[in-house]
């Protein structure tokens, strides 16, 4: 059996293939049936083909079989034998979903009967779509390349006979016979009589290129499995044999794999090799060679992988990142030694060495910076990876919901740390489901409100400095403030008095509280017991923020703000009661100093005023229960998320530094207000503050700010 590692790589590659497949399918669908881009079609076909090959290599027969069916269908589509229609796109996108499920199972070593059955049903469906309607058979005739003018005069029966002959795969000939007007009837029946034993005279037509005045020309369309020479020999005088081709070979789709009829009509295989020569240079690829039949795709390309990328486990990149972090520490140690040496009094050798060492340390720093950036770049992947999956999901959900919704996506090319992108798919899916389920109204209702009947749900991403902003926007019903207030009070999340003091924004944000859901009935789409609070928690884990804006009857927008990367962040190092803490710089708005006399209190809580805005003044030492010093002046780090502001009082500013945040292991996961730790030059662990969680904790309506002192 295949080694687990190889299987993992297969799963990764197969997933990539499915992603490509899904993306191209969407493009094809958007372009509509009018004019599918042949390159696209080929790309999709190749993707399905590689998947089939890979799957069967790993003994995943169910996946291989389904991929095979998809390949057949795509092949038919590519060769223009099956029209691109809704039914086809639906079947294929369902196939992608099922394949993804099965891949997931395979990666866990499972193989559920349910998905196998689903694959079976889908396989049959794909086959049905591929066989299609009669339209498909006309395409077979297109392949033969009969002059359309000639075909126009065929009767339906003749056309049917011709089709049958094509399917049998016999050679098709045009016999042009020129007979004198005097005895053409006898001579024609004579010719017919001689041809009959060799095959079938499909049609006898007066030639479109008549002979001279005294003669009449006929075109006989003749199908025969016999070699050319034999047919030629049977001809009577005045008859000329030519292959029934009006199209040059080159007009056919270029790749040589045997077309779908080969699979649909097994008989083709049986006879084609015998008559291949008779048909050349006919439009069919004559008698596929044995090699071709085993591997019906371009052999030389299928051996190479689709892209020249190296797939790397993110854990290895983390390892590299850690090594770089260590190198940076060593560099700062060298710098320190160099500095010490340089301080040596008088012109001495160590002093010179110190200078030299310092120069080298700086060069090292530059290189390390490059290395760090390089590794970070490698971790970045386009959001499109998730957006494509979501677009496919939305398509399905919209169809199932029966609502009329347009789904817009932009910003799929914005890049984010791989870890973040992975973690984003669930929260985004939840928000989109919410938008569809709770936001978008039914067309009747929309029209009543004077809105366009078709609702729009959008998923947009853009980069803004060191952040990526993702918006999930709908133009639906909007959030009902009164209802939110009622529910929040009902569930005991806040008191009525509190809601009366709350700003609109804070009120809306109550929907993120655990146990909040305004919908009474549980819907099939989004009522799965997972609330927006989970979305928020997930985002906080990514050091991200979520904000909500909504107008009644105009729509709702969820705005997600995420850091570009989690691996290395720039942090502000501060000291509180002799302890050092790191505050991620992306949360820091500014740093001010205030005199103790400038502090005011509101309901005994300390506040400061910065540029006309009053905000809570929180002594970090007090929050952390550390001994506090009496001081006349405070440094205040103003941190902010969305519209919320908070001033954190600290004792000392140490400086800015790039830090590699390390998560705290299992037992330390639930330390409040701390997102991880990093190490400084002296190997000391320094806690990284989780500003989002701290603000949440300190600004919560019922948050108690009782002073806590060191125990």
């Amino acid at each position: 059996m295949a080694a687990p590692r190889a299987l993992t790589e297969f799963i990764a590659e197969a997933n990539e293939i499915l992603e490509v497949l899904g993306r191209e399918l969407l493009v094809l669908e958007e372009a509509g049936a009018s004019d599918p881009d042949p390159d696209r079609l080929n790309a999709v076909f190749r993707a399905a083909h590689s998947l089939k090959g890979l799957a069967s290599m790993f003994g995943l027969e169910t996946i291989a079989r389904l991929a095979h069916r998809a390949e057949d269908l795509l092949d038919a589509l590519r060769l223009g034998k099956t029209p691109l229609n809704q039914q086809l796109v639906d079947a294929l996108s369902q196939t992608i979903d099922v394949l993804q499920i099965m891949l997931g199972e395979a990666s866990r070593g499972e193989d559920s009967a349910e998905s196998r059955e689903q694959a079976e049903i889908l396989g049959a469906e794909l086959q049905r779509v591929a066989l299609g309607t009669p339209g498909d058979a006309i395409d077979v005739l297109d392949q033969v390349g009969i002059d359309p003018q000639v075909r126009a005069v065929f009767t339906e029966f003749e056309e049917h006979r011709l089709r049958e002959n094509v399917k049998k795969g016999v050679g098709l000939w045009k016999v042009r016979a020129v007979f004198s007007l005097d005895d053409f009837d006898t001579r024609l029946s004579q010719l017919n009589g001689r041809l009959k034993p060799l095959g079938e005279v499909i049609s006898t037509l007066p030639s479109s290129q008549p002979g001279d005045d005294s003669s009449i020309a006929f075109d006989l369309i003749f199908g025969s499995a016999r070699p050319e020479a034999e047919v030629e020999a049977s001809l009577t005088e005045g008859a000329v044999l030519s292959p029934l081709t009006s199209q040059p070979l080159a007009a056919l789709p270029p790749p040589p794999p045997p077309p779908a009829p080969k699979r649909r009509v097994p008989a083709w295989d049986d006879v084609s090799s015998g008559t291949g020569s008779a048909f050349a240079p006919g439009p069919f690829p004559s008698a596929p060679s044995t090699v071709m039949r085993i591997a019906p795709a371009p052999v030389e390309t299928s051996l190479r992988s689709l892209t020249n990328t190296v797939r790397v486990d993110i854990g290895r990149l983390d390892g590299l990142m850690n090594s770089i972090g260590e190198l940076l520490l060593i560099r700062s140690n060298i710098e320190r030694i160099a500095e010490a040496a340089r301080q040596v009094a008088g012109p001495s050798l160590p002093k010179l060495w110190g200078q030299e060492l310092q120069r080298e340390a700086r060069a090292l720093e530059r290189r390390l910076d490059e290395l760090q950036k390089g590794v970070l770049d490698v971790r970045m992947v386009p959001l499109g990876q998730v957006f494509d999956k979501l677009a496919r999901l939305m398509r399905r959900l919209v169809r199932e919901s029966g609502k009329d919704v347009m789904f817009e996506v932009s910003g799929g090319d914005v890049e984010l740390d791989k870890l973040i992108v992975e973690e984003l798919s669930d929260p985004l899916m939840h928000l989109l489901r919410n938008a569809l389920d709770h936001g978008a109204e039914r067309p009747e209702e929309r029209l009543k409100q004077g809105k366009a009947g078709r609702a729009t749900i959008g998923l947009f991403a853009r980069q803004q400095g060191n952040h990526v902003i993702i918006e999930v926007r709908d133009d639906g019903a909007g959030l009902d403030e009164a209802r939110i207030r009622e529910v929040a009070v009902d569930r005991g999340i806040v008191t009525r008095e509190q809601t009366e003091e709350m700003e609109r924004r804070d009120l809306l944000n109550l929907v993120f509280q655990a146990g909040f859901s305004t919908r009474r009935d549980v819907s099939e789409l989004s009522g799965r017991g997972v609330g927006l609070d989970v979305v928020k928690t997930n985002l906080q884990r990514l050091s991200g923020l979520i904000d909500i804006t909504s107008r009644r009857h105009e729509g709702t927008t969820f705005t997600l703000t995420l850091p570009l990367t989690l691996a290395i962040i720039r942090a502000l190092m501060v000291a509180v009661s002799g302890r050092t803490y790191a505050i991620p710089l992306n949360a820091v708005l500014e740093i001010v100093s205030v005199k103790t006399g400038e502090l005011r209190t509101i309901e005994r809580r300390e506040v400061i005023e910065v540029r006309g805005q009053t905000m809570p003044f929180i002594r970090l030492a007090r929050v952390f229960g550390l001994p506090e010093e009496q001081r006349a002046m405070h440094y205040v780090v103003i941190v902010g998320l969305a519209q919320q502001r908070l001033g954190l009082a600290i004792d000392e500013l140490i400086g800015q530094q790039d830090i590699v945040t390390k998560p705290l292991s299992g037992r330390l996961r639930d330390i409040p207000g701390v997102s991880g730790a990093t190490e400084l030059g002296d190997r000391r662990a320094v806690l990284v503050l989780d500003i989002g969680a701290l603000m949440e904790e300190l600004l919560r309506p019922q948050a108690s700010l009782e002073p806590r002192t060191a125990g």
Binding site: G666, I671, E679
Partner: protein, 184 residues
Amino acid sequence: MSSQFAALLDRFFYRPDEAVGPFLESAPESDRGAEAVPDETPEEFLAFVLDTETYAVPIGAVREILKVTVVTEIPRAKKNLIGLINVRGEMLPLYDVKMRLRLADTAPVVRASKDVGRAARVLLLKDLEGDAGILVDRVEGVVKLQLSRLEEAPELGIDRNAIAGLGRRDHQLYILLDVEQALS
């Protein structure tokens, strides 16, 4: 297709002398199930001192022994958590077990090596929930104890959940620490 392929590979690489059947019978574990015999192989434990008592943990549970360097205190953490230590880039918790064992009323404040005795060490223990260090006053060394001769801790009227049993060797009492319990 692949199973055929795998079978082919198997046949190709298989050598009859790789068959392990005959060896299994003489393998050391195969007499398992018999009652503990007098010549039982003793297990190795790492013995250490907490206050005035000597404790021990199975040597397999110990990842390494470290000197106390810098410890970062964690605000608002559980009382028995002394702080965070940096073990070659890995951030691990350092716990106090004396409180759990009623050897002390409060956890010590340790921020650097000067806060502990010269003999004090960190025992890094392997644990499913994530490796963790415990602060000990001194490491005694490796001691061999026979599993079959371990005693249960006597009823002392106090919670002794963190004690897995007692071992004796040459008049020295070893209190076996239940690591999982001691850290909770």
